[in-house]
């Protein structure tokens, strides 16, 4: 089972590729990133929605993630407003998930025989998704390299069976494996390539542009409007009767509605970065997004992919 890496990886993309082939070898469907702006890999419907219901599920994917308030104009060695997460979600959580995870570390060149790998209590909660779980942050030589969570509840629904979720912060993990001090100097492709590109070659300029956008550029009045629109649209889509007259099928638009939840969540993050949300308002906004997430979860539970198998309570 152990996948031993013959050579240490040499670039950011090699680490991603090794994770992809490792988890593919463990039987995960290797998905592509979700095509919307999200704050974390968990928002991908492959995690949020698919962790509901009894249908078995195993997926792994890279998810570009945006945290507008973390913009540092490309100057901070490890803080970015746009970064990558690697996400693995398996339902039901297999009994050897810890071992599988450790195998993935070996695959990218972190050998537990040489490093100090620790499972340190860290319970996960997403107030915007109405979700929580218990697990750990995983330390490698004192550095947090992943988050390991057994989902207990998502969108207000108990997870039965429980999904096991792994989240790797790819830049940080790669910087550690590659021995890099500033993210912008990290080789993105092989440094021996004819056209060698660093992380900075690809992202320094966008970090600058988006930092300015997030903190000063974005039109807050418009963002607020769009937030309201997304909220209303989510509800409107869920209000449709399940029976579709055109196809004659029963079609609940859980995913399109959930897209609006994702949108609302990102708009809220942008508004937060623009500094126009007060401390008291914050909670109210988070509550509004959570309400949407719950409704989408309710709707998804009524669909083919999200319902319980026969004979399951």
């Amino acid at each position: 089972m152990t996948v031993t890496a013959p050579t240490p990886p040499r670039s950011f993309q090699e680490i991603i590729l090794r994770l992809q082939s490792y988890w593919a070898a463990q039987g995960c469907a290797v998905l592509q990133p979700y095509d919307m702006e999200v704050g974390a890999g968990t928002f991908h419907p492959a995690t949020t929605l698919r962790s509901l219901g009894t249908k078995p599920w195993a997926a792994a994917y890279v998810q570009p993630s945006r945290r507008p308030t973390d913009g540092r104009y490309g100057e901070n060695p490890n803080r970015l407003q746009h970064y990558y997460q690697y996400q693995v979600i398996i339902k039901p959580s297999p009994p050897n998930l810890q071992e599988l995870y450790l195998g993935s570390l070996r695959a990218i060149g972190l050998d537990p025989a040489l490093h100090d790998i620790r499972f340190v209590e860290d319970d996960w909660e997403s107030p915007t998704l109405g979700a929580w779980g218990l697990g750990w942050e995983i330390w490698c030589d004192g550095m947090e390299v992943s988050q390991f969570t057994y989902f207990q509840q998502v969108g207000g629904h108990d997870c039965r069976p429980v999904s096991g979720e792994l989240t790797y912060g790819l830049e940080r993990l790669a910087m550690y494996v590659l021995g890099i001090d500033h993210v912008m100097t990290m080789p993105f492709n092989d440094p021996q390539s004819p056209i060698a590109l660093t992380y900075g070659d690809i992202f320094r300029q966008t970090e600058e542009e988006y930092s300015r956008h997030n903190f000063d550029g974005a039109d807050t009045a418009q963002l607020l409007r769009h937030f309201e629109d997304a909220e209303a649209e989510c509800q409107r889509l869920l209000d449709f009767a399940p029976d579709d007259p055109k196809s004659g099928k029963r079609i609940i638009m859980a995913h399109p509605a959930y897209d609006q939840t994702i949108k609302a969540s990102h708009l809220f993050n942008l508004l937060d970065a623009r500094g126009v949300i007060s401390v008291t308002e914050r909670q109210a906004y988070i509550g509004r997004v959570r309400a949407l997430a719950k409704k989408c979860a309710d709707a998804f539970r009524l669909t083919e992919a999200g319902k319980d198998a026969e004979g399951v309570a």
Binding site: D116, Y150, P161
Partner: protein
């Protein structure tokens, strides 16, 4: 007498939950076994990050049989009654005992023998119940199962060991079948192995790189880390809580020491220590000559071929990143501080303290003005106290306190110094939150005292004004702690303050519209008195003694109050004390009865010319003497002296009461004697109201 060994093997148990889990496991299993009729000689309980282990020595091999006797109907009872009894006991008619009763009839008895049960069956039941009802602070499900545990439970080891060897207790919980095997260290010895006894288990675990006992792991960490520091001419900074936590994170502790980069050594030691502890769970290593924190010890959970070199290098790198953040905060904060902290003070306007009590800036303004009032009463300069209160909480907006809230106050001191403010101001920033509990150090610098008092009195007056008083176990704003803080500040520094007046000044800072409930009632003063009683009880002074002193004037001056109580308590510990108290109570009882009956107070003064007996005349003389001592002593607040003077009255009072009939038929004599008793009462009440003293 077999021994029992139980191990519950799971994924990593949070370190903070392990100590409690050990106690719960022991209590639940042993209580369950004892209730089911088993006994045991001794119990041991252990934990590592991946296992909870219980061992019981000398367990009885079966529960004792129980004989139960049930009385049935008379032999000549109707058939229906007899059948019912047979059905309920499960016996036949010839199995019943026939006994003659006193009336000559025959009654039927059923004698039921409940056989003893094998220990294994009882253990299986008790352990399953224990697992299913274990009181983890947070528990979870996993996979497709329904069982809840702190993290996925993987295996159960449960064996009974006697001379014949070990037998596995048959038990299956949610698909996990109990066995006689466990696993070693996750990386160093992952193989499973069988064990035959507790001793065998401990030895094999150690061979498999697991130290079972957390106390042993703590000792090894402490010893190993101290040795590393010592070898480098440095010393380890003690931290018990961290030691316990780290011991709960490792099965095979390997301390590794590293040095802090030279670029970070200028950071305040508390910042280094907190950053290393909170983020990395590192111990700090100090240079004993300079007191500077120069190194760290991290505790790895594994041994490696390179003797931890890679691990140490990684940890060092993470630490550098962390300390770079800390240095960034420190340097930015210093810039703001040197510019006078205006940016932070402005920022505090936007921070809500409580939605009814305004912003932190509002609160600071109130505290500053109150500190100005208090300053002259505690020997502080009013302007300095005002200034100190104004900047004492500025650090709440600093980046460093944002990152490490536990450094509040301390960073305030560094930043006040950086701002060029006087030492007294800097120390007040550091100390004004103190004392935080019954044993915490109490500030002694007058400016710190003024700000600390103002801070706490403002809090109390504020929450009293909006009627948010503590109730029962609910005290969300820590008002009991604030009141205790005020009490300790006053008593430790023997301050003479009128709490009622200070509360009124504090209260006047809140707008009238805000106030709900009675703004200026005495309940806050009573609250102080209640906290004082709790505090003094811990110092060995009884409730009733405080009550006796509370009945005296000036009880809003806590120092005076406690002086009285201490003198009274000391006096009651002497031989004369209880005797005087008895004499006083006897005299007072007679007087009170007469006063109630006659509807007058006998405070006219007694005249010695009506004294008949030597004892009565002697009492007059002794009262004169005592009075001459007590009154000046009381006004000097020398309550010990006053109590000693009272003690001298014990014999004359007793002699007088023994020799004299107070309620005599002679009305003049009676009145004179009652007036004399009144004098006793008055004199003996100079320090405390003795009627309130029990005993």
């Amino acid at each position: 007498m077999p021994d029992l060994l139980i191990e519950l093997f799971s994924e990593e148990i949070p370190a903070r939950m392990q100590a409690r889990a050990r106690e719960d496991l022991k209590a639940l299993v042993t209580n369950g076994l004892v209730e089911a009729g088993l006994t045991y000689a001794s119990a041991g309980v252990f934990s590592t990050p991946r296992r909870l282990t219980l061992t019981l020595d000398g367990l009885s091999s079966e529960s004792r049989p129980v004989k139960e006797e049930r009385k049935g109907p008379r032999a000549d009872a109707p058939a229906a009654a007899l059948e019912g009894f047979l059905r309920s006991t499960g016996l036949t008619l010839d199995q019943l005992e026939r006994r003659e009763d006193k009336k000559g009839g025959v009654t039927l008895f059923a004698v039921l023998e409940k056989p003893g049960r094998q220990a294994a069956a009882i253990i299986a039941e008790v352990l399953e119940t224990t697992i299913r009802t274990f009181p983890w602070p947070k528990s979870m499900r996993w996979g497709s199962g329904n069982l809840r545990w702190v993290r996925p439970l993987h295996s159960i080891l449960c064996i009974l060991v006697d001379e014949a060897g070990a037998t596995t207790v048959p038990l299956t919980v949610d698909g996990i079948q109990a066995a006689n095997t466990t696993a070693g260290h996750r990386f160093l010895s992952p193989a499973r192995f069988a064990v035959t006894s507790f001793d065998d288990y401990v030895v094999k675990l150690k061979r498999a790189h697991v130290v079972l006992d957390s106390a042993e792991r703590e000792a090894a960490i402490w010893q190993g880390a101290s040795n590393l520091a010592f070898a480098a001419g440095l010393e380890l900074v003690e931290d018990r809580a961290l030691l316990t936590e780290v011991a709960g994170l490792v099965e095979w502790p390997v301390p590794l020491m590293g040095r802090i980069g030279a670029d970070f050594l200028h950071l305040p030691p508390e910042v280094l220590q907190t950053s290393m502890k909170e983020h990395q769970k590192f111990f700090s290593v100090r240079n004993p000559k300079t007191g500077r924190i120069e190194g760290f010890v991290t505790v790895a959970n594994t041994e490696t071929a390179d003797h931890g070199a890679t691990i140490l290098k990684g940890n060092q790198k993470v630490l550098s990143a962390r300390l770079s953040d800390a240095r960034f905060f420190w340097e930015n904060d210093l810039r703001v501080a040197k510019a006078g902290m205006g940016e932070w003070l402005d920022g505090l306007k936007a921070v809500t303290f409580h939605n009814k009590l305004g912003s932190q800036a509002d609160r600071i303004a109130r505290i500053a003005s109150l500190a100005r009032h208090i300053a002259p009463l505690v020997g502080a300069d009013a302007d300095v106290a005002h200034q100190a209160a104004t900047v004492a909480k500025a650090d709440l907006r600093s980046a460093m306190v944002g990152e490490f809230p536990e450094l509040q106050g301390l960073m305030g001191m560094y930043y006040a110094k950086a701002a060029g403010l006087p030492d007294a101001v800097a120390h007040a920033a550091r100390d004004h939150y103190s004392p935080l509990g019954p044993t915490d150090t109490v500030p002694t610098d007058p400016v710190s005292i003024a700000v600390a008092l103002a801070d706490k009195i403002d809090t109390l007056a504020g929450f009293w004004a909006i009627d948010e008083k503590p109730t029962g176990s609910k005290d969300p704003f820590a008002l009991r702690r604030a009141a205790l803080g005020v009490i300790r500040l006053i008593l430790s520094n023997t301050l003479r303050l009128d709490l009622r007046a200070l509360r009124q000044i504090a209260d006047s800072a809140f707008p009238a519209a805000l106030k709900s409930g009675a703004g200026n009632d005495d309940s806050l003063l009573s609250f102080f008195h209640d906290r004082l009683k709790v505090f003094l009880k811990d110092q060995g002074i009884r409730h009733d003694l405080i009550d006796a002193c509370l009945a005296m004037p000036g009880h809003d001056d806590l120092t005076l109050l406690v002086k009285r109580a201490e003198a009274l308590a000391a006096f009651l510990k002497t031989e004369d004390g209880p005797n005087l108290l008895a004499g006083f109570k006897r005299a007072n009882a007679i007087l009170s009865q007469a006063e109630a009956k006659d509807g007058v107070e006998y405070s006219y003064g007694a005249d010695i010319k009506f004294a008949e007996s030597p004892a009565e005349r002697d009492l007059f003389a002794k009262l004169d003497m005592a009075e001459a001592t007590i009154a000046p002593a009381v006004s000097r607040e020398d309550f010990n002296e006053a109590m000693w003077a009272m003690a001298a009255l014990r014999a004359p009072i007793d002699a007088f009461l023994d020799a004299t009939q107070i309620n005599t038929d002679n009305a003049i004599l009676r009145r004179n004697r009652l007036n004399l008793l009144h004098r006793i009462r008055a004199i003996c009440s100079g320090v405390a109201d003795l009627t309130k003293v029990e005993g």
